[in-house]
């Protein structure tokens, strides 16, 4: 089954076209990486998929259902989870309470029903020891982990990760990759925007290149990285 399909999606802010006629599909269970220079429209693409933004043209299909006009809240309920590029924790709530919000509302269950699931997510993302700490007091790595944990608490079928490895040390990055691989191994479809390329290529099976809002390449990661076009545009190398 096709998990996600974008058909001719465009979005402009005034005269600036940030998503330009983007079309692609993600089959169920696949991990897709998205790369592109700063300002290429990667985060905008995510906001369009999650429903935080509405496209000007085109349509977005989730599990073969047209969700173009569905709100962000409802898209979460149908199984789209996300992490934000800049961590957006609920600062005054504890780590555990952050997950509770996501699990009770994202899955429409009572606090009692989701307690053990939330604790299990925290164990997997290695945040369990910080469960009772207010999110505002977390370090950068912990905030990134919280972004991931909170998205996981909604039990998404499709998980969108926005530069989750940025700003981490090599050790921290490796630990995070292990967690994401683990999530992927459980059958969750992943779309991951990342500048830390080695982190990305160690997980994803397919790579999409975005430039000026256009999809300029899509395919096997090694072939994409080796292509002349990508090296010129993305890496700024004259070949």
């Amino acid at each position: 089954m096709t998990m996600l399909a974008l058909k001719n999606v465009s979005k402009s802010f005034g005269a600036l076209t940030v998503t330009d006629d983007a079309s692609f599909e993600v089959p169920e269970g696949q991990a897709l990486g998205i790369i592109g220079p700063n300002g290429a429209g990667k985060s905008t693409l995510f906001n369009l998929i999650t429903g935080n933004l509405r496209p000007d043209e085109g349509s977005i299909h989730f599990q073969e259902r047209d969700v173009t006009k569905v709100s962000a809240m409802e898209r979460c309920l149908t199984g789209i989870g996300r992490s934000f590029q800049i961590p957006q924790p609920f600062e005054k709530l504890t780590v555990y309470e952050n997950l509770l919000v996501a699990a009770t509302h994202g899955r429409n269950l009572s606090e009692r029903d989701v307690r053990d699931d939330c604790a299990e997510v925290l164990e997997r993302t290695e945040l369990i020891k910080r469960a009772n700490t207010p999110a505002g007091q977390l370090s950068l790595l912990e905030r990134k982990r919280l972004e991931l944990s909170r998205a996981m608490a909604t039990q998404p079928k499709l998980l969108l990760l926005d530069e989750i490895a940025g700003g981490l040390t090599e050790g921290e990055c490796q630990a995070l990759i292990r967690t994401i691989k683990d999530i992927h191994a459980q059958g969750v479809t992943i779309i991951w925007i990342e500048h830390v390329l080695h982190a990305l290529t160690s997980v994803v099976e397919r790579l999409l290149v975005l430039d000026f809002g256009k999809v300029i390449g899509l395919g096997d990661p090694d072939e994409i990285m080796a292509s002349k076009e990508v090296q010129e545009i993305y890496l700024g190398i004259e070949v």
Binding site: N52, M73, Q88, Y96, E97, H105, E111, R115, K129, N132
Partner: protein, 351 residues
């Protein structure tokens, strides 16, 4: 080992017992306290209700309204209208006061929710002024000069005769005692209701929306519905309090019932000095406010200036109010809402 979640703390268990004793004392207060004390307590309790509802709006919902007088005034006028025009008893009319506030809250929210932050605050104030001007045109209820509750209606009010006989007091004192008990019931229901709300998953959603609306939507929280729920609940409760306050006063005018100073500025003062975003804060705040009023009532404008200076000083040295200061130092929570996870991997090295 399995995980468990607790919200109670040893301190909160003691607070529950002390709170229960306090409630019993407050219920039997009219049996041994004088009329002056009962009137003071009525004032404290009704201001506490207004403060709790403003706190629900601003402290939990992030909706800073300076138009709460619209709901107090509308509730009060609905009560007077029900008694004077429909011939209803004042006591059940209090419920109509709440409903009337709810009715104007819907169009108010419809307009004000298009605004954010400071614009929302000003918007609510403007709407309250419009409602005041409209009500002042209502000639059968005295227009701009106002009116009084008919003597028959107040004399024959529900329960008054029973209280006269039970406590051996005159009719006027019995009315004050009735108003006091109703205020006590309203205050307890308000605090109990808000505490219940905060302990449900809606309470969590409210905190999430306040901290980060976009992120809250992305995890499935219906942010718009939360805002509506909080705004309408707060309007209903504020309307009930408005009806009750003016039932006790038995005299109304648009300028008094829609006073931004009495029903919003003082209420904000109470919440801010007590501690915004906590249930304990407004309780502390209203006691401080009452003490200041009692001490400084004879000094005219010095009273208002003192309130202003005190509010500024507290905002600078204790931005989270007197209760915030106390609970930071001692870790004390009388109404704990924090869900603490324990057991499992947390057993060996609890923080």
């Amino acid at each position: 080992m399995a995980y468990t979640v607790t919200t109670q703390t040893p301190a909160s268990r003691i607070a529950t017992i002390l709170g229960a004793i306090l409630v019993v004392v407050l219920i039997v207060l009219p049996f041994f306290a004088g009329r002056g004390t009962i009137q003071d307590m009525f004032f404290i309790l009704t201001m506490l209700v207004l403060a709790q509802f403003w706190n629900l709006l601003a402290g939990y919902g992030g909706l800073v309204s300076i138009g709460q007088q619209a709901f107090v005034g509308m509730g009060a006028y609905a009560l007077f209208g029900a008694v004077i025009l429909l011939g209803l008893d004042p006591v059940p009319s209090i419920l109509l006061a709440g409903v009337a506030a709810l009715v104007i809250a819907v169009p108010t929210a419809f307009f004000a929710f298009r605004l954010n932050g400071a614009y929302f605050a000003i918007g609510t104030w403007v709407i309250a002024e419009v409602v005041r001007l409209l009500v002042a045109q209502w000639k059968t209820l005295g227009g701009g000069t106002g009116t009084s509750l008919p003597r028959d209606a107040t004399r024959d009010m529900w329960f008054v005769e029973g209280i006269e006989e039970m406590l051996g007091v005159r009719s006027a004192a019995a009315r004050d005692i009735l108003a006091y008990w109703l205020a006590l019931a309203l205050a307890l229901a308000t605090i109990g209701g808000i505490y219940w709300l905060l302990r449900t998953r809606r309470g969590l959603a409210l905190a999430a929306v306040r901290d980060n609306t976009e992120a809250a939507k992305s995890v499935g929280v219906d942010a718009a519905r939360m805002k509506w729920t909080v705004f309408l609940t707060s309007a209903f409760g504020t309307g009930l309090a408005g009806g009750l306050i003016y039932m006790q006063k038995a005299r109304i005018s648009p300028d008094a019932a829609f006073s931004v100073t009495d029903w919003t500025a003082y209420v904000i003062f109470i919440v801010v000095i007590g501690g915004i975003g906590t249930i304990e804060g407004p309780i502390i705040g209203v006691l401080v406010f009452f003490a200041l009023q009692a001490l400084l009532a004879d000094f005219g404008s010095w009273y208002l200036m003192t309130l202003g200076v005190l509010a500024i000083v507290i905002m600078l040295i204790a931005p989270r109010g007197l209760w915030g200061l106390l609970s930071e130092r001692t870790g004390l929570h009388l109404f704990p809402i924090r869900r603490r996870l324990s057991g499992g991997q947390l057993t060996t090295s609890e923080e």
